[in-house]
């Protein structure tokens, strides 16, 4: 049994050893926070993660048997069993995988382990879009105008939605209550399309989630995606750590995030912060969470609450100086928040770029391959969150995110310059990435001026992005290839003889949830 560290001596739920129920960059980020807090760590891994740097960062490694995600990172029973066998007393779910599973949160608590996250009840209410909307309505958090359908009779559903649509006006968006990832979502542009769209949305929702309930929202276009970071200690103290601007997206996936948002002043920040706190209070939230809003001019509307750590949390950490993962551990141990809203201040500007394994020139389709050469940027105000090292293979079975580059500077202009230089310094050879596209985005006039909205990338580059042709540079590059031939075989990649053949995923057949 690992003893709880000294700082937990007055904690209600002390623990000394944490199992990280995740992989990749977020697992590494959590492992480092544990070390800083004198907590012992357990990594879970599959046979494909043998060369992951996470295994070197953790005190214990536990192999999950199985080939599919259902058998491994989504296997509640196996993960709790791993915690029991390794002596872990707490579980941090990270993001993705089981992080928003109320069932997992409940199973962890029932196994008398400390769950680093909100209660299963909070997760459940916010996970169901219709119940979340009802809850928000009841506490006065502004919602995208819409209508929830509770009837299960087909003709009543149609009638209710037709009535609602005449009140809301077109275009509309039909959404699945259990929704996520764009499944069960349908845009309706005119009344004649409605009946068919209702049936298609219901069918898709039923297949994808086993729950055919749908609701309708007015379709808001040219909006910004702004989210509020929340910390709540379960003793009634709820704080907001300001906003994050996440409007730059492709395929509903964020690409570049920043804090603060250039579109928000002190007044709007306070209003949205208060709405975020009200949203969290409505579900008696505990831990770190994020309330997402759509911002249309100066009106904002609740989208959803993510009841977990968020990928883009580092920009908030840079600007507020607060380590969100540290706070998650303190809160889970039952310690009250050691600060008040007044003590939270925002200093400077932070930007995050997500480096994806994808080919911008073929419409951002995923790519894969070995990391033959990997050199990440360095320097003041630069933070790298990654879970891979040179020699690892980026595989198509998992998320395409390879690493996050986060910068901090005194002002937005300097932060953009710092990020552009960091991207140019990043050397990643062996597979296609979006690094040059990220650089091009930060050169775009609208991005530089903060005139972003969630459709910007698709509007400007509907078929993907192709780098400019620079013959002079190509000539130098071609010459460098020829010169490199002189270095001899020791410098060419090892991938021909070992990496590819040993790729354990050639045998795997993972399925996504």
């Amino acid at each position: 049994m690992m003893l709880a560290p000294e700082w937990m001596k007055n904690a209600k739920f002390p623990f000394g050893c944490v199992l990280i129920a995740n992989r990749g960059e977020v697992a590494c980020r959590i492992a480092r926070a544990c070390k800083e807090l004198q907590l012992s760590t357990v990594a879970i891994y599959t046979s494909s993660d043998n060369n992951s740097p996470l295994l070197d960062l953790c005190d214990q490694n536990y192999l999950l048997e199985g080939e599919t995600l259902q058998e491994t990172f989504l296997n509640i029973e196996a993960i709790i069993d791993a915690a029991k066998k390794t002596g872990a007393q707490a579980i941090h779910p990270g993001f993705g995988f089981l992080s928003e599973s109320a069932k997992f949160a409940k199973a962890v608590t029932e196994a008398e382990l400390v769950w680093i996250g909100p209660s299963p009840e909070s997760i459940e209410i916010m996970g169901d879009k219709m119940s979340a909307r009802e809850k928000m309505k009841s506490v006065g958090v502004p919602l995208v105008p819409g209508h929830e359908v509770y009837s299960t009779k087909i003709n009543e559903i149609h009638k209710e939605l037709i009535d609602a649509s005449s009140k809301l006006g077109f275009p509309l968006l039909l959404k699945a209550s259990a929704g996520g990832g764009g499944k069960g979502m349908r845009v309706v542009n005119r009344p004649s399309e409605l009946a068919e769209a209702i049936e298609a949305a219901q069918r898709e929702a039923q297949t994808a989630f086993g729950d055919g309930r749908i609701y309708v929202e007015k379709l808001l276009t040219d909006c910004k995606h702004i989210e509020i970071q929340i910390l709540a200690d379960g003793y009634g103290n709820i704080l907001h750590l300001g906003e994050r601007e996440c409007s730059l997206q492709r395929r509903h996936q964020k690409v570049i995030e920043e804090c603060p948002s250039p579109a928000i002043g002190e007044r709007l920040r306070n209003l949205m912060g208060a709405a975020g706190i009200a949203a969290a209070a409505a579900v008696t939230y505990m831990g770190a969470g994020t309330v997402e809003f759509l911002l249309d001019e100066d009106k904002f509307y609740f989208l959803e609450m993510n009841t977990r750590l968020q990928v883009e949390h580092p920009v908030t950490e840079f600007v507020t100086g607060i380590d969100i993962v540290h706070e998650q551990f303190r809160i889970a141990a039952g310690l009250p928040l050691g600060m008040s809203q007044k003590q939270i201040s925002m200093k400077g500007h932070s930007i995050e770029s997500r480096v994806y394994a994808e080919d911008p020139s073929s419409g951002f389709l995923p790519s894969a391959g070995p990391l033959l050469r990997l050199t990440m940027p360095q320097g003041p105000g630069i933070r790298i969150d990654s879970g891979v090292v040179e020699g690892n293979i980026i595989d198509t079975n998992f998320d395409p995110m390879i690493a996050k580059i986060i910068v901090h500077a005194n002002d937005r202009e300097t932060a953009i310059m710092r990020m552009k230089n960091a991207l140019r310094e990043t050397v990643l050879l062996g597979l296609q990435t979006n690094i040059e596209f990220l650089h091009a985005l930060l050169c775009d006039e609208d991005v530089v001026n903060g005139n972003t909205d969630t459709n910007l990338i698709e509007r400007k580059w509907p078929n993907g992005w192709t780098p400019p042709n620079d013959s002079e540079l190509f000539a130098l590059g071609a010459m460098a290839c020829i010169i490199s031939e002189k270095r001899g075989p020791a410098y060419s990649s090892q991938s021909n003889n070992n990496v590819i053949n040993n790729d354990p995923f050639l045998k795997l057949n993972s399925k996504f949830p």
């Binding site: 080919d359 690094i435 190509f474 002189k486």
Partner: protein, 164 residues
């Protein structure tokens, strides 16, 4: 020596003597000539240092089979040797290649079946993303080289079609 870049530019590089790195003075792209009279090179442990008119440019180069990956001036370029490209350029229009690496979710046609322009033939998945392969013309399915749940690399010829 002939190599081809990712934009299909054909390079003809003339080297007087590869042992003397100072001797590369001229390289030709699609008949356009690039001259580098004041350019010097040195090979370092992990990089190649190019000095052009007193300005230093660092190139990272890694060779993977027949392809070179080059990072230079913030850009990542790929080159392949002209010989290896010739071998793979026999692929004709009716050979549908995988646009991304991934897993085959569904094969929706069978050999001998006639298909319409734009018809969905096959569904692939990579990194939680589904992608449909559709017919570039109307015709018949000549050959199917993959099956459900198979993992394929980018460029793998999935289906071969014959145009009507």
């Amino acid at each position: 020596m002939k190599i081809i870049d990712s934009n299909n530019g054909k390079w003809d590089i003339s080297l007087q003597n590869i042992n003397d790195l100072k001797s590369i003075k001229q390289i030709i792209l699609n008949d356009e000539e690039f001259l580098f009279p004041k350019t010097e090179y040195s090979i370092q442990e992990r990089t190649i240092k190019i000095t052009q008119g007193g300005q230093i440019i660092i190139a990272n180069v890694v060779k993977d089979k027949d392809a070179w990956w080059v990072h230079i001036n913030g850009r990542t370029l790929t080159f392949t040797s002209a010989d290896s490209r010739k071998a793979s350029s026999n692929i004709n229009q009716g050979s549908l290649q995988a646009p991304m690496p991934g897993t085959i979710l569904d094969v929706q046609v069978s050999v001998g079946q006639s298909i319409e322009l734009g018809q969905s033939l096959l569904v692939m998945e990579a990194m939680k993303m589904e992608h449909k392969i559709t017919a570039p013309f109307s015709g018949t399915v000549e050959k199917i080289n993959c099956k459900k749940e198979q993992k394929v690399d980018r460029g793998f010829v999935l289906i071969e079609l014959k145009q009507n």
